[in-house]
């Protein structure tokens, strides 16, 4: 695997998040210094296998989660079922994962991702300390995106 620095990963992740949230939910995203606790909000998780191996996790506090889902569905939060909300956030992570890998490679590279899942606890994730944490701000609502990249298996 080629060496990916933390700065390269952060740049690719910020661009992918801006692209994905902008086109899917019409929300502007910028980098922020404000830290959001890892455990805050709903946890969403996806693995990727090509062109690099790794894991991506999104921790979305209620405010931003609500804004994303309402914008994508063009509906009020109260009118949406739990299934609709989960499906919406999982699809967002699925698209974000693909966009991140293409931003990382700087081209329309072919990617391979797992099915995204909702996590109920951080304990479901091994090697949590290997994740890089990045804080972004979606129109005043901070959230955390965490990323771990792995060596290719021999």
């Amino acid at each position: 695997m080629r060496e990916v620095t933390k700065e390269q990963a952060k740049t690719a992740l910020l661009r992918a998040t801006q692209h994905t949230l902008g086109e899917m939910a019409f929300i502007d995203v910028i980098e922020t210094e404000e830290k959001v606790a890892f455990e805050t909000g709903q946890l969403l998780f996806i693995e990727f296998y090509k062109p690099v191996r790794g894991r991506l996790m999104l921790a979305l506090p209620l405010e931003i989660k609500r804004e994303i889902v309402e914008n994508i569905h063009a509906s009020d939060w109260e009118d949406l079922s739990v299934n609709e909300i989960d499906d919406c956030l999982l699809e967002l992570l699925n698209v974000l994962g693909g966009n991140f890998l293409r931003e990382l490679e700087q081209k329309d590279v072919k990617v391979h991702l797992s099915f995204p899942t909702v996590l109920f606890s951080l304990e479901e994730i091994p090697d949590l300390e290997s994740f890089w944490k990045f804080s972004f701000d979606a129109e005043g609502n901070p959230f955390t995106t965490s990323l771990a990249l792995h060596e290719e298996e021999e």
């Binding site: 899917m24 609709e84 499906d87 919406c88 699809e91 994962g97 966009n99 072919k110 991702l113």
Partner: protein, 122 residues
Amino acid sequence: MKLDKIMIVDDSATSRMIIKRCFQMAGYQDSTFIEAEDGLKALSNLNRNTVDLVVTDLNMPKMDGATFIKKLRLIDKTKQLPVLIISSMGNERLETELEEKDVMGILRKPMTPEKVTEVLGE
């Protein structure tokens, strides 16, 4: 391109909703949309219905998009049916193989009305 009936095949209801909205915004607001959550359900639906275009994801449980397209090409009724792939993932060998099976195009998510117009024309 005139499309009276469009089938959208994707395991995510959100994705199906976004794809439908993008087609409507691209000028297909009068089209009828039929939805299926995987290739198996889509094939079963196509036994009963005739559509003008199939829009399908690749990464789906039960029957993935690639298997679904291969099966479509084996059935007389759907052998020539136009297919558009919309996916967040891909695989070079698979995509080359699918392009050889007369797929109209492979679009990356997130879907936008502009991408629909780009493939289908104004």
